[in-house]
């Protein structure tokens, strides 16, 4: 048993500088590359709101690319940190933001709204005027919150984190079963709509939804940051944490709450984005060669934002007009990268060994 290794001092600023520059570059690319070819000068004009900018291009940059890029940043950072918290909480390198069943809950909510319209009366949601995208977001949020509440209740009663893990897994199966039944009775268009939702996308968030997404992500990230010392202690086991004078109960609550808030919010707005949550924390650990959460949380947030933006860039296939499913891109491009890193380092479990 040893305390988390402190990162080598000279590595820190350089690492953050590189990540920050990478994010800036990716952000610039997100704004300037897309299905429609827009010259760089026009992009700058559109952003600055200079007179004489092409109104169509201006709208594309401001209403499509900017919210999309911001969503990618928020979602990437949120999923990465949520995954980091989950991995530390369960002391398991395979944990991810969805291990508590949050995304299963969200999927179930969306499946009910999208495919059970026939049972509920197709008009109910439309009549409420919250049809379409908003109702999908609301449904995912309700589903995620429901699971979250159950998890929190159990977390309060049960001391063993593994119980939570198994609960999350089992809930995933149960939710999957209900989704299967709904799919069986849904028509082709509804099924297709649901499948499209599971592809994940950063493009569906509009400016009117951005404040909610941003607020929830900021709250979750700040909460995680505030918990970074407790997370360090947790890495060494709950008993150790208790001996350090930590209120394990409160910390557990905080970690589960912030991790679920981040994962649930992103899933509600972007669909279940795979891979980022599990891989990015490893990426950050390998880049900074540390398991200190004071470094890891910001590093994971930045790496997550960078990975999400790069994946989105590829998914948009700049210049071609067609798009690829985001989830396919994150997995296809991310997996070889992480495998390469792991094989190079070979000591994945090091951080988790106690």
């Amino acid at each position: 048993m040893s305390l988390p290794a402190a990162p080598k001092k000279r590595r820190l600023p350089f690492g953050f500088l590189a990540l920050g520059l990478g994010c800036l570059l990716a952000f610039a690319l997100e704004l300037s590359l897309g299905s429609v070819r827009i010259p760089l000068a026009e992009v700058v004009k559109a952003l600055a709101g200079v007179d004489g900018a092409d109104p169509c291009w201006e709208q594309i940059v401001r209403l499509f690319r900017l919210p999309r890029a911001l969503t990618a940043i928020l979602a990437g950072a949120a999923l990465g940190v949520s995954g980091l918290e989950a991995q530390t909480f369960f002391r398991n390198p395979l944990a991810d933001p969805f291990v508590l069943g949050i995304s299963s809950g969200a999927s179930l909510g969306v499946a009910v709204v999208m495919m059970a319209a026939g049972f509920l009366g197709a008009t109910t949601l439309g009549a409420l005027g919250i049809g379409g995208n908003l109702s999908v977001v609301a449904a995912a949020a309700v589903g995620a919150t429901a699971v979250f509440s159950v998890v929190m209740l159990v977390a309060k009663r049960v001391r063993d984190n593994m119980t939570l893990l198994i609960l999350g897994l089992l809930f995933g199966y149960a939710a999957g079963a209900v989704v299967g039944i709904l799919t069986q009775f849904a028509d082709k268009d509804q099924t297709r709509g649901f499948i499209l939702w599971t592809f994940g996308s950063f493009g569906g968030v509009t400016w009117s939804q951005m404040p909610y997404l941003a607020t929830a992500c900021a709250a979750g990230l700040l909460c995680a940051l505030a918990l970074c010392k407790s997370l360090n202690a947790m890495l060494l086991g709950q008993d150790y944490a208790r001996s350090m004078g930590m209120s394990v109960k409160r910390v557990r609550f905080g970690v589960v709450a912030s991790s679920s808030l981040l994962a649930g919010t992103v899933t509600a707005y972007c669909g279940p984005i795979a891979f980022v949550g599990i891989a990015v924390p490893h990426l950050a650990r390998l880049l900074f060669k540390t398991s200190d959460h004071r470094t890891l949380i910001p590093a994971t947030a930045l790496s997550g934002a960078l990975v999400a933006m790069l994946a989105d860039l590829v998914a948009q296939m700049p210049g071609l007009g067609v798009t690829l499913p985001l989830n396919a891109v994150t997995c296809l491009l991310g997996a070889p990268l992480v495998i390469a890193l792991i094989l190079k380092r070979q000591r994945m479990m090091e951080t988790f060994a106690s």
Partner: protein, 370 residues
């Protein structure tokens, strides 16, 4: 001599001349010695094989020397189970509703006459409760024992029901009308249905009238001075699935003398485009059609409020094809509309060129309400 010729003509008449197909590309009919050979090609996207049916007059001897995979069907068929509501329009036009003994997804049926028969329990639901593919409740179908089962196939072992039904001893006929790229081609499948019931002459008459009316609307629409630009479908999470340029809808739009902006999309289905590329091209388009499940402008904005950026939206020129939706939620666009492309074209031509079709009431299309 005269008598001989007359007899010959009569004989030819009795045997029926090979069905004359002008628009449909996915099936052929050949008059053979004592039977008709019907071949369905392209039963699904990329289906390399044909499905062959030998239609033998009831009571006649089964012809010999048929290729092994040819299925023999005694015609006229006395009762049929339809696993898709798409063929209901054809059956009704041919006066054959009383031959429908069973069907799947019956709640989606729009035809009032057939709904009446369903209510009187003259038609049995044989569906398995899912429309992802034509899953069938085999036990119900066994109890019904229809002489013929008409269905579609997608070339997917998990979705297609015909292999299992064939194995179970049912005479299963695959229709491929959905693979026809043109509205008239799809409507000509009424002749395919008619072949199994000995109603070829009626089918020819019905189709000829539809074809005539369709071409008349097309010719009139072509007189319009302005060719409005049009696009279709809606955004979902930043992606936009645009119908292909050579498909059913694109042909209708072109024949209604409108300029469909995505004629360059290849293939039979649709292409996943990004919202921004659609916006760049269609921002100033005149019309917007087929907005899916959106029943009002408000719902369209609920789906994505950037839909309001389109000129067609601001001008209120958004039309959906859901005006004629049945009590069970089935859209008649896909039932009656398939059988009556002349009515579909009439709707669109009246939407695009109201000056040429004053006072024309649309049937399937409606302006999206607030």
């Amino acid at each position: 001599m005269r008598i001989a010729i007359l007899a010959l003509l009569l004989l030819a008449g009795v045997a029926g001349r090979a069905t004359d197909l002008r628009r449909a590309k996915c099936f052929t009919v050949e008059q053979k010695d004592g039977y008709k050979l019907v071949k369905v090609a392209n039963a699904w996207q990329g289906c390399g094989d044909t499905f062959d049916y030998a239609l033998v007059p009831r009571g006649a001897k089964t012809p010999e020397g048929l290729p092994p995979k040819t299925m023999v069907v005694e015609v006229p068929v006395r009762n049929v189970a339809l696993l898709s509501t798409t063929d209901v329009g054809f059956m009704e036009a041919l006066g054959l509703l009383d031959k429908i003994a069973g069907g799947s997804n019956l709640e989606l049926v729009n035809s009032a006459a057939l709904r009446g028969r369903i209510a009187r329990k003259r038609v049995v639901e044989v569906g398995g409760g899912s429309s992802a593919g034509d899953t069938v409740n085999l036990e119900k179908l066994y109890a019904l024992r229809p002489e013929l089962v008409m269905t579609y196939a997608y070339g997917s072992p998990s979705l297609d029901s015909y292999p299992k039904l064939t194995e179970a001893g049912f005479k299963v006929v695959l229709s491929a009308s959905y693979m026809e790229p043109t509205p008239l081609g799809r409507a000509e499948w009424i002749k395919f249905v008619a072949l199994f019931f000995g109603r070829e002459a009626e089918a020819e008459a019905v189709f000829s009238k539809i074809e005539r009316d369709y071409l008349a609307v097309k010719a009139k629409a072509a007189e319009a001075e302005k060719r409005p630009s049009v696009f279709c479908n809606i955004a979902f999470k930043g992606a936009w699935y645009m119908s292909s340029g050579g498909g059913f809808l694109a042909t209708l739009l072109a024949d209604a003398n409108a300029d469909y902006l995505w004629t360059d999309v290849k293939g039979d289905g649709s292409a996943a485009l990004s919202f921004e590329s659609v916006f760049a091209k269609a921002a100033n388009a005149d019309f917007w059609v087929n907005v899916g499940s959106c029943k009002s402008r408000r719902e369209l904005l609920g789906q994505d409020n950037r839909h309001s950026l389109f000129k067609a939206f601001r001008d209120g020129q958004v039309y959906n094809n859901d005006a004629k939706t049945g009590p069970g939620g089935g859209n008649d666009f896909f039932e009656l509309g398939v059988a009556r492309p002349d009515l579909l074209l009439g709707d669109l031509a009246a939407v695009f060129h109201p000056e040429l079709f004053p006072g024309h009431p649309t049937i399937f299309y409606r302006k999206l309400p607030e």
